[in-house]
C-alpha cells in the first residue's frame, strides 16, 4: 500500500454520471480504441435510466471524446488509450457491482467477440485483452497461466517477455484493487480527519483538521491550510498510519475563510449541518476531533453575527478546522483561528455559502444523497439564487429533488423554503417538551425567529404561496408554523382561515389556542381598515367554538372583542391634535423575574452610578436587576453601552430579546456626576428597558403640538429627521389595546422629555424631570407587583405578550 495510490482517483472527479458509467465499462479491456468505446456505449448505455444513458447524439460524441482525452486515459498508440491503473481499480469495482457481476461478464463477452470479429490488433494486444477479460473473475487461473508462460519462455505464439510484462501489469492491478478495499474501509468511519502536507516526502505533517458535511468525498477546512500551498495534500486519521486519501483542492473562499477538498468517494454520511440562529451567548458546543488524537472539547459560543462567532478555546495544534457541534450533533461552525484569548469560528451558514459559491453540483456529485444532504442542497440552491448564480441554483435544486425521490417523508411540502421547514421541525420538537415553562420559553424564541424570517422575506410572491401552503397543509405541525407566522405578521387575507382553525373538533386543541392568539395579535396590529374583517372573523370563530361550553366560548373571544371595541372607541374619540395612533403591544418582562445586566464599557464609577439609578425603578416591585460581574460569561437580557457625547437610547422591554447577544440593548451618555438633565435621561432609558413608553407618546397623552413648528424644528439642524420620523417618534401616540390600561398622562414623569414651548400651539409648560414621579412609582409597581417572595434568582426569558 502506498500513500500515493489514491491520488490517481482525482482523475475520476469531474466526470458526469453517464461518462463515469461508460468509463467503468471501459475499465475491463487492457486498452480501448474509440471504436471499442463506441461499441461499449451502443451495447450498454443506450437504454438505461435517463441519467445513466448516453443517447445517440452530438453531446454524447463530445462526452466520449472528452473521456478519452481526460487524464483518466493516456494514449499508448495511434488509436489506443490505456486507463490509469488506480482509477481502473475503482471503476472495475463499480462495474462489478452492476447486476452483481453480470455486467462484467457481458463486457468480457463483448470484448472477446470484438477480438474475434472486428479487431485488427496485433496478437500481443489481443492476448492482453483476453487476459484482462478474465483476470477479474478468475485471478488464480490467470496467474497460473501467466506463470506457465513465463516458465516455458513463451507460448501461444507469444514471446517470454510478453508473459513477464503481462504478469507485472496484472500484479499492479491487484495491488491497486487491494488498496482500494482498505481506502473504502478508512472512509467508512471517517467524517473528521486530519489534513497532511507532505513537505519532505515521505514525511507528512498534520496541518489542520477537516470534516465532511455531505456523503461522497467533499471535505471542509480553513482556507489558510491550502492557500499558497503547491505541496501535495492528503487526509487521513493519523500521522502514523500509512493509509491516507489524496485530495485535490476544489476551491477556496477567502471571504468566508473556507476551503473545500475533494477525495475519492468515501462511504457513510457526513456531519449534519445546523444553523447559528439557535446559538446564544454561553451556549456549550462540542469541538469534534479526529478519533484518537484529541478528546472532544466543550467550548462556550459567543455569537457575533452571520459570518462567524467567538469561542473561549484554543484547541491546540492542528486544531483549526475542528467542527463545532451543537447538542444535536449538528455542525454550527468551524474553528479557524485564535485571536488573543478567544477562538474564532466560521459559521455553518458561511460554510454553506462558500459551498454554494464554489462547489459545482455538476462536477461534484455525491454518490448517494442522504436526507441531510437534501436539506443541504436546498439551502445551497437558495443561496446560489440569492447570489444570482441561476444555473447553479437549478442544479442544486435538481440534486435536492433527486434526493427527494429517495426520501418520501417530506414530499408534501416541496415548495417551502428551507428555513421554514426547519421551523416546522423545531416547532414539532417544542411540543414534545414536557415542562410547560420551558415550552413557552422555546416558543417565544421560535416566534422571534418567525419575525426574522418574515422580515427577510417581505412581500415575495413565492413566500406568500409558501405561507398559504403551510396553512392548508394536512400536517398539524406545518399548520402551526403557518399560524405562528401570522401571529408575528398578521395578514388580512388569512384572517377568515384563522377563524376556522379555532374549531376544536377539526383541529388539535393547541392549534385552536394558537389561532386565537394570532387572531388577537391581528386585532392589535392590523390597521383600522381591517377591524371589520376581524370582527366578522371573530363571529365565525364563535360559530366554530360550539364544542366549548358557553362560558369558555365567551372567555376565549372576550379579550379580542374588547380590543376591537377599544380600538373603535379610540378611533372615534381621536381629536386630531396629536398624530395618528400607532398600535403596539405591551413588552413587559415576566413577573418576578431577575433581569441580568451586563456593562459593555464604562468605568467602575459610571457603572456604580447607573446601578444606583436602576434600583430606583425596581425598588418595591416584583422585578430585580442582577448586575453580572465583569468576568462572567453568562447571558444577559440587558446590555448597557456607556458612551460620551452620543445620543442615549434603549429598546423597549422585551424587544431587547431580539438584539444579537453581543450588541447593547441600552446606550447611555454618561458624564459624572450623573445629575440634573443627565440623571433624568438615564432614568428614562431604564424605564424604557422595563417596558414603559415615552410619556409624550403614551396613549393618554394629548399634547397641544404645533405641527408646523415641530416639523420645522426636528427636520432642521441638528436633528435632520424625516417628516415620517417626526410623525412617528414625536407626534404619534401609541395605542396599547390590551390591559392593563396605560396610566393617565403625567407631566411630572421622568419618562417625559423637557420639550420647549415653541413646539406647542398654546402655553404648555414642561419642566426638566429628574426624579421618578409618584405616578411613575405607582405605575411600575402596578405593572410588576411586589410579592411576598423576593424575586426568583433564576431568570426567565419573558414571553413577549402579557395577557
Amino acid at each position: 500500500v502506498t500513500a500515493a495510490v489514491a491520488h490517481a482517483e482525482r482523475v475520476l472527479i469531474g466526470l458526469p454520471r453517464a461518462a463515469r458509467l461508460l468509463a467503468a465499462h471501459a475499465a475491463l479491456p487492457a486498452a480501448v480504441s474509440p471504436e471499442l468505446l463506441r461499441h461499449l456505449r451502443d451495447n450498454f448505455l443506450l437504454d438505461g435510466p435517463v441519467g445513466d444513458r448516453l443517447p445517440v447524439d452530438a453531446e454524447s460524441e463530445a462526452v466520449m471524446a472528452r473521456l478519452l482525452l481526460s487524464p483518466l486515459f493516456s494514449q499508448v498508440a495511434d488509436d489506443l488509450y490505456e486507463m490509469d491503473v488506480r482509477a481502473r481499480a475503482v471503476l472495475l469495482g463499480e462495474l462489478q457491482s452492476i447486476g452483481d457481476g453480470e455486467r462484467l461478464t457481458q463486457v468480457a463477452v463483448l470484448l472477446e467477440r470484438f477480438l474475434q470479429e472486428r479487431s485488427t490488433w496485433p496478437d500481443e494486444l489481443q492476448w492482453a485483452q483476453r487476459i484482462s477479460a478474465r483476470v477479474v473473475s478468475d485471478p488464480q487461473r490467470v496467474r497460473e497461466w501467466l506463470a506457465a508462460g513465463v516458465a516455458r519462455g513463451g507460448g501461444a505464439g507469444l514471446g517470454g517477455r510478453w508473459f513477464v510484462a503481462m504478469r507485472a501489469k496484472v500484479e499492479q492491478q491487484w495491488a491497486a484493487a487491494d488498496t482500494l478495499e482498505q481506502l473504502a474501509d478508512l472512509g467508512a468511519t471517517t467524517t473528521v480527519a486530519m489534513v497532511f502536507v507532505t513537505r519532505h516526502p515521505p514525511l507528512k505533517e498534520a496541518s489542520a483538521t477537516t470534516f465532511r458535511v455531505t456523503s461522497g468525498g467533499l471535505w471542509v477546512t480553513p482556507a489558510y491550510v491550502v492557500l499558497g500551498t503547491s505541496l501535495p495534500l492528503s487526509i487521513g486519521s493519523s500521522e502514523q498510519t500509512e493509509l491516507d486519501l489524496g485530495v485535490r483542492i476544489v476551491g477556496v473562499s477567502e471571504t468566508h475563510d473556507v476551503a473545500f477538498l475533494q477525495s475519492a468517494p468515501v462511504r457513510g454520511p457526513g456531519l449534519p449541518v445546523g444553523a447559528t440562529s439557535g446559538l446564544h451567548a454561553g451556549q456549550r458546543l462540542t469541538a469534534a476531533a479526529v478519533v484518537g488524537t484529541a478528546e472532544p472539547t466543550t467550548v462556550i459560543g459567543v455569537r457575533t453575527g452571520r459570518s462567524g462567532f467567538e469561542i473561549d478555546l484554543d484547541p491546540g495544534p492542528a486544531g483549526s478546522g475542528r467542527p463545532l457541534l451543537d447538542r444535536d450533533g449538528r455542525v454550527v461552525g468551524m474553528f479557524v483561528a485564535v485571536d488573543g484569548s478567544l477562538g474564532l469560528a466560521v459559521s455553518a451558514e458561511a460554510i454553506l455559502f462558500a459551498m454554494a459559491e464554489i462547489v459545482d453540483p455538476e462536477i461534484y456529485e455525491p454518490a448517494t444523497i442522504l436526507p441531510a444532504d437534501r436539506l443541504l442542497y436546498r439551502t445551497l440552491a437558495a443561496m446560489a439564487r440569492s447570489a444570482g448564480a441561476y444555473g447553479r441554483a437549478e442544479r442544486f435544486d435538481e440534486v435536492a429533488r433527486r434526493a427527494e425521490g429517495q426520501d418520501s417523508t417530506n414530499h408534501d411540502t416541496p415548495k417551502l423554503p428551507f428555513e421554514v421547514r426547519e421551523l416546522v421541525r423545531r416547532f414539532a420538537a417544542v411540543s414534545d417538551i414536557p415542562d410547560r415553562r420551558l415550552r413557552v420559553q422555546r416558543r417565544a424564541v421560535l416566534l422571534d425567529e418567525c419575525r426574522d424570517i418574515v422580515a427577510r422575506h417581505g412581500v415575495d410572491p413565492t413566500w406568500e404561496a409558501a405561507k398559504l401552503a403551510l396553512l392548508r397543509s394536512s400536517a398539524p405541525e406545518e399548520r402551526i408554523v403557518g399560524i405562528a407566522l401570522l401571529q408575528v405578521d398578521p395578514d388580512p387575507a388569512s384572517i377568515p382561515m384563522l377563524a376556522t382553525f379555532v374549531d376544536p373538533d377539526r383541529a388539535p386543541a393547541h392549534i385552536g389556542y394558537e389561532a386565537l392568539v394570532a387572531l388577537r395579535n391581528a386585532a392589535e396590529m392590523l390597521p383600522d381598515s381591517s377591524l371589520d374583517l376581524i370582527g366578522r372573523a371573530v363571529e365565525i370563530a364563535a360559530g366554530h367554538l360550539v364544542g366549548l361550553d358557553r362560558t369558555d366560548r365567551a372567555g376565549a373571544l372576550r379579550p379580542i372583542r374588547k380590543i376591537l371595541d377599544d380600538r373603535a372607541a379610540a378611533a372615534a374619540s381621536h381629536d386630531g391634535t396629536s398624530g395618528d395612533y400607532i398600535p403596539t403591544v405591551w413588552k413587559l418582562w415576566r413577573d418576578r423575574s431577575v433581569l441580568r445586566v451586563r456593562f459593555l464599557g464604562g468605568n467602575a464609577a459610571q457603572q456604580t452610578e447607573i446601578r444606583a439609578l436602576a434600583v430606583e425603578w425596581t425598588w418595591g416591585t416584583g422585578l430585580a436587576f442582577s448586575f453580572l460581574p465583569p468576568d462572567s460569561t453568562e447571558a444577559a437580557e440587558i446590555r448597557i453601552a456607556v458612551t460620551t457625547g452620543q445620543a442615549s437610547w434603549s429598546y423597549i422591554g422585551t424587544d431587547a430579546l431580539t438584539v444579537a447577544a453581543e450588541q447593547p440593548t441600552i446606550s447611555l451618555d454618561v458624564q459624572l456626576p450623573i445629575e440634573g438633565r443627565s440623571r433624568g435621561k438615564v432614568l428614562k432609558e431604564l424605564g424604557h428597558a422595563l417596558g414603559l413608553l415615552a410619556e409624550h407618546q403614551q396613549p393618554n397623552a394629548d399634547l397641544p403640538w404645533d405641527r408646523a413648528a415641530a416639523l420645522a424644528v426636528y427636520m432642521g439642524s441638528p436633528h435632520h429627521w424625516t417628516s415620517d420620523q417626526v410623525e412617528h417618534d414625536l407626534l404619534g401616540r401609541y395605542v396599547v389595546p390590551i390591559p392593563p390600561a396605560y396610566r393617565p398622562f403625567d407631566p411630572y414623569s421622568v419618562m417625559l422629555l423637557p420639550f420647549g414651548s415653541e413646539l406647542f400651539s398654546r402655553d404648555f409648560p414642561i419642566g426638566t424631570n429628574t426624579e421618578l414621579s409618584t405616578s411613575d412609582r405607582a405605575f411600575i409597581s402596578e405593572l410588576y407587583p411586589p410579592t411576598a417572595d423576593p424575586p426568583d434568582a433564576v431568570a426567565e426569558l419573558s414571553t413577549p405578550l402579557r395577557s
Binding site: 445517440v56 447524439d57 472477446e112 487461473r141 501461444a156
Partner: protein, 386 residues
C-alpha cells in the same frame, strides 16, 4: 384500426430500436400487424422476430440490432409448427456458436474462426472460460447522423450539367418546336443532366481528433457514397492545413488575449501547406495542388475540433487557419468548418476565436444542412470574416 395495442415486448423493442436510429414509425408497426394478420410470423417466437427483421432492418447491422433487442425482452416462447429450423437459429453467444447454417432473411455477419481462447495452447494450461450471458452483442456503430441523413443533406449540393448523348425527352422544347412548325416533327432530345458538384473534404487527424476518427470516417464514407456528388477529394492534416504562420505576425499577437483582431488585416491568404491523402499521414500532397485539382469554385469542408475537445487556446494555429480561409475566399471558394464538439464547448478555446472569423458549424444534422447551404452560396453571419 381496431385500437388494440401490440404486445408490450414489441412496443418496448420498437422504442429501443428507434433509439438506435432504425428510422421506424407507425407505418412499420402497421406493416407488422398486416403481416401477422396475413399469417406471417405466427409459427413461433423466432419466426416473429425474423418477420420483424424482414420488415424493419435495412442492413445486416440493423438485423443484428433487431434480434439483440428482442432477445433482451425475452418474448413469450411458442412453437406451433414444429422445429422451423432443426438446428435452431444461430446463437451469437461466445460460449460456442452452435453451428448450423440457417438461411436467415438477412445474412449474419461473417464470423471469424475463433482463436479457441478456452482451449489448450501448446503446453500452456487452459485459460478460464468466460461466464455466459443472455445478452446479445451487436457491432453496428451508432452515429448521431445516419448515412442516409448525411446523403440527403449533400444531395442538396446540386450543380447539374448536361452529360453524354441526347437521350432525355425535352417536352417544353418539343411542344415549342411543333407548335412553331405546325408539323409533328421529331421530339427534342437533350443529354441527361448530372450533378457536377465537387467537394474538397479536409479532415483533421491525430491528437484530440483521435476519438472522433470513427465519426469522421463515417461522415467521409457517407458523403462519398451517398452524397451523389461528382467527386469528393479527401485529404488529412494535423491541427492546421497550413504550415507555420508568419513569425512577424505571431510576434505581434497579444500574450494576454487569444484574439487575432490586432493582426487580422495583415494576414495574407496562403495555401502553402502539406496535407496527406491517408489518415495515417503517410502520403503527402500539396494543398495548392489539391485546391487546383478540385476545380474552380469547389466548396471546402474542414472537419476539426479546432482545439475545443482539449480546451486549449493557440492563437498561432488560428492565425494559419485564418490565412487558409482568406486564400480560399480570395479564390471564390466557400469554406465551412465542421466541429464535432457542440458549440457550447467552443467558448474559451481556439475554436471560439476561430469561429469569429470562419463559418464554423457544429457537426450535427442542423449544422450539416446549414453547411450545405453555405456551400451553395447562402451567406452566413461571421463576426469578422477572414
Amino acid at each position: 384500426m381496431t385500437g388494440s395495442l401490440p404486445p408490450a415486448f414489441i412496443l418496448r423493442a420498437f422504442e429501443d430500436l428507434r433509439r438506435r436510429q432504425l428510422g421506424l414509425g407507425v407505418d412499420d408497426l402497421l406493416a407488422l400487424r398486416s403481416a401477422v394478420r396475413a399469417g406471417f410470423g405466427l409459427g413461433s417466437d423466432r419466426a416473429l422476430v425474423e418477420l420483424c427483421v424482414t420488415l424493419w432492418a435495412k442492413s445486416p447491422g440493423e438485423a443484428d440490432s433487431v434480434r439483440a433487442v428482442f432477445a433482451r425482452y425475452d418474448p413469450p416462447a411458442w412453437d406451433e409448427t414444429g422445429p422451423l429450423h432443426p438446428e435452431g437459429l444461430p446463437s451469437r453467444r461466445l460460449d460456442g456458436p452452435t453451428g448450423g447454417a440457417p438461411v436467415p432473411v438477412l445474412p449474419m455477419q461473417p464470423v471469424r474462426a475463433p482463436i479457441t481462447p478456452t482451449g489448450r495452447i501448446g503446453d500452456l494450461p487452459p485459460l478460464p472460460a468466460l461466464g455466459t450471458t443472455g445478452r446479445q452483442i451487436v457491432f453496428d456503430p451508432q452515429f448521431p447522423i445516419t448515412r442516409r441523413a448525411i446523403g440527403q443533406a449533400f444531395r442538396r449540393l446540386l450543380r447539374p450539367e448536361p452529360f453524354g448523348p441526347p437521350v432525355q425527352l425535352d417536352i417544353e422544347a418539343t411542344i415549342e418546336r411543333r407548335s412553331r412548325s405546325g408539323v409533328a416533327g421529331p421530339v427534342v432530345l437533350v443529354p441527361r443532366r448530372r450533378n457536377t458538384a465537387r467537394l474538397l473534404l479536409l479532415v483533421d487527424c491525430g491528437g484530440s481528433m483521435v476519438p472522433f476518427h470513427p465519426l469522421a470516417d463515417h461522415l467521409r464514407e457517407a458523403i462519398v457514397e451517398n452524397g451523389g456528388l461528382r467527386h469528393v477529394t479527401v485529404a488529412y492534416f494535423h491541427d492546421t492545413p497550413l504550415d507555420e504562420p508568419e513569425p512577424r505576425l505571431v510576434r505581434r499577437l497579444s500574450r494576454l488575449s487569444p484574439q487575432l483582431d490586432p493582426v487580422l488585416d495583415a494576414v495574407r491568404g496562403s495555401l502553402d501547406g502539406l496535407l496527406f491523402s491517408d489518415p495515417l499521414l503517410a502520403e503527402p500532397v500539396e494543398l495548392t495542388d489539391l485546391v487546383e485539382q478540385s476545380g474552380a469554385g469547389t466548396g471546402v469542408i474542414v472537419v476539426s475540433d479546432a482545439g475545443a475537445a482539449r480546451g486549449g487556446v493557440d492563437p498561432a494555429r488560428n492565425l494559419s487557419c485564418v490565412g487558409f480561409a482568406r486564400a480560399l475566399r480570395e479564390d471564390g471558394r466557400p469554406l465551412v468548418w465542421l466541429n464535432p464538439m457542440p458549440a457550447r464547448c467552443w467558448r474559451g478555446t481556439s475554436a471560439g476565436e476561430l469561429a469569429r472569423h470562419v463559418a464554423m458549424l457544429p457537426l450535427d444534422l442542423a449544422g450539416l444542412h446549414r453547411a450545405v447551404d453555405v456551400l451553395r452560396g447562402r451567406p452566413i453571419t461571421i463576426e469578422r470574416a477572414a
